[in-house]
Point group: C2
Chain length 267, copies 2
Amino acid sequence: MSDSRPIGIFDSGLGGLTVAKQVMQVLPNEDLIYLGDNARVPYGGRSKEIVTKFSFENAEFLIKQNVKCIVIACNTSSALAGDELKNKLNLPVFDVITPAIDESIKETVNKKVGIIGTRGTVSSGAYGSSIKYQLSNINVFSKACPLFVPFIEEGESSSPALKMVAKNYIKELKDAEIDTLILGCTHYPMIRHLIEEEVGNNVQIIDPGITVAKTLQEYLEKNNLLNLSNTSGSRKYFVTDYTERFIKVAEMFLGHKIEHNLEKALL
Amino acid sequence: MSDSRPIGIFDSGLGGLTVAKQVMQVLPNEDLIYLGDNARVPYGGRSKEIVTKFSFENAEFLIKQNVKCIVIACNTSSALAGDELKNKLNLPVFDVITPAIDESIKETVNKKVGIIGTRGTVSSGAYGSSIKYQLSNINVFSKACPLFVPFIEEGESSSPALKMVAKNYIKELKDAEIDTLILGCTHYPMIRHLIEEEVGNNVQIIDPGITVAKTLQEYLEKNNLLNLSNTSGSRKYFVTDYTERFIKVAEMFLGHKIEHNLEKALL
């Protein structure tokens, strides 16, 4: 048995392309449809109510494209709307948070796990409370890093000002002596080098894009839902707003050109 | 003759409150309705098409509230959608850009005018081309400062990292020897001190919030549209998304509490 329908991935904007990249690496033969809601990006500081509304609109767009499952690539959306999407939609939905939490519980030795993300993700407490729910003896230290995204989107991934900002953000986590750190925002893999430098070599970094891609692969295999084609899957990118700059940022995240596979989506 | 209907002001988010503040100062007896589209903020990097769509939705909301005129407090919206709103709406519409341009032409002695703003405002060329249109012998130097807004919204208006960012942005304008600088983004009056410090004392700063408030006052006087009441005007604030943090940021911009005058707007 197999299922040749595409995998749907959505994000508030283009950061989720770092997740899409991991999915393509693990499942190269799968067709993939990506939706970036960049007309309304960022979701980071918005309310649960509005993030849920936007997330359902994104999911419904993907369902109309006949996807077999949905990956919520956005941490804020996973945190604030993930459960409701899973409960109400009639297809498998994967959030980026759950697999990263499982991985962090496996990895930590001293039971001190750090999480960095947008203000929305961190203040939702989604990472922290899920970890606690599974293993109450783990101490969770979370820190909102709201200035990381604008710096990354400006292509300033190694500017001295960003280093200064990073040092301030990471200090608390270092002082707390975490041994595992979850990159709780899809943009952060782009500055992994800088975060690693600040947090030190002895801290295990978890990239939720990598862990969700593995989880998705296992699920499709187990449920006979893989696309068994022998050729590379097709990729289609939808955005809710289109500017040349968005394309540039998208290609920075993916590491390759996408212009010919890009279309405007009306939600 | 008089007109007791409220003045409508909209912005992509809360930055426009710095404009509302100036309007309230100049026209204290006028009723005022403010709409901040913070569910979709920022407009800064978005396309002309999507900014125009959002701007019309905002204007229509205000028209339903029976306003006598509309002030577009958002520079991006003024730049990308200002003309279309003025042409298509059946009430007076004021953008923040036009009065600031007139003022800069009056102020500059060496005919070198600088403009700082979001990426959208600057790349639209709205400020520069309007100045050129009026006086072709003026040299316009514009610089997008996309990291200013996130720093300001984080309340980090005097952090060392922001100073470093500002120094980089302002350098080009200093080198160009401008004698007049337009703060082409509603957030920037919040860091006026820091900008002044970087650009030097001999540069005249123009705050479009102040100039549009004066223009509006003159218009209402001239056309007998003032509210002639002797009491302080009422203020009503609408937002398209509501979080505690938004309120905090709003109060930072206004300098006083607004909670009891705040309502959620459904566009």
